[in-house]
């Protein structure tokens, strides 16, 4: 069986950021003037977007498993 763990919400800033920055009621005209420097904190919560760069990164990582498995 998979391990199950309860985390308290205060232990994870990322969980809080995910919810408070991205969800909830937005008033468009008011939000624009208030959010300065949003990129400062949202980077860690950013979703990984699949792209050429990502595919190459995956391939390199898979390549490393070959190197690890190769006989010495």
């Amino acid at each position: 069986m998979a391990k199950v763990q309860k985390t308290t919400d205060s232990s994870s800033l990322a969980e809080v950021v995910d919810r408070i920055l991205d969800k909830g009621i937005v008033v468009d005209a008011w939000a624009k003037i208030s959010l300065v420097g949003i990129e400062l904190i949202s980077i860690e919560a950013r979703v990984v977007i699949a792209s050429v760069e990502t595919y190459l990164k995956y391939a390199e990582a898979i390549g490393l498993t070959a190197a690890a498995a190769a006989p010495a």
Partner: protein, 252 residues
């Protein structure tokens, strides 16, 4: 503190709640500001006065927003505002409350007496790529083909391999997510699926449940986890304000 001095300053909004009477929540807002209600016909905005109309998403500001929501949650389930919404003044807020009354009431009905719980499944393995190589024969064969020789594989070969991994990663996610949602459905009023943050993550769910059903929800998580081996780990958290179930864009 004189209210007069703050007259031209902004009002930071934390949430919208059902309330008929004015009320204060203490100095728990942005930079220790007093949090209070602006009530308009049984619908209220939870606000505090802030000295200017720009606010940075710093840790302490996000923590203050979160703390105010938690305080309200002790009594009533709020409709949380997104971070960084500041109104010009009280009148503008009263207008928002009046103009959107029906939308707010509809949302109150959806989340009243409920809380949001978070549930995340991750691969609990030291190296996700090695795990896929050992469990997925197609990816293993492709690796051996492309990386088996002495020469560095071409860019095209790498892209193909990377795409294959990505495809399989997402196919697994979909399968496991559906499997878990089927079980959790019996324990929740509503479930929202969020995007995964990294390769290690399998699924990230937000679950709307009755306030009094938190123990039951926990049982649901354990029940789901029984269908997965120890290459996976389950993590749950909450209760939260229903951030994932309140999605209102007000256009002025």
């Amino acid at each position: 503190m004189s209210k007069k001095n703050l007259k031209r300053n902004g009002r930071y909004l934390y949430a919208i709640i059902e309330a008929s009477e004015e009320k204060t929540f203490g100095s728990i807002g942005m930079d220790g500001s007093d949090v209070y209600l602006i009530v308009e016909d049984k619908t209220a905005a939870v606000v505090s006065d802030v000295p200017n109309k720009k606010i940075r998403p710093q840790r302490k500001n996000i923590a203050a927003h979160h703390a105010v929501l938690n305080k309200i949650m002790e009594e009533i389930t709020p409709l949380p505002m997104a971070f960084g919404i500041i109104a010009d003044g009280e009148q503008a807020i009263r207008k928002i409350l009046a103009d959107n009354r029906d939308v707010f009431r509809e949302q109150f009905a959806t989340v009243s007496g409920k809380v949001e719980m978070g549930m995340r499944i991750s691969y609990d393995v030291p190296n996700i790529f090695e795990y896929f190589i050992s469990t997925d024969s197609e990816i293993r064969a492709a690796r051996d083909q492309y990386f088996g020789g002495n020469r560095e594989p071409s860019q095209e070969a790498k892209l193909e391999l990377g795409r294959m991994f990505n495809r399989q990663l997402n196919a697994n996610r979909e399968e496991y997510t559906n499997q878990v949602i089927e079980i959790l459905d019996d324990y929740c009023d509503d479930i929202k699926e969020n995007k995964c943050r990294n390769e290690q993550e399998v699924t990230s769910l937000a679950c709307l449940i009755n306030r009094s059903d938190q123990k039951r929800f926990e049982e649901g998580v354990f029940e789901s986890a029984r269908h997965f081996d120890n290459n996976f780990s389950f993590e749950y958290n909450g209760p939260w304000s229903p951030h994932n179930f309140v999605n209102i864009l007000i256009e002025l």
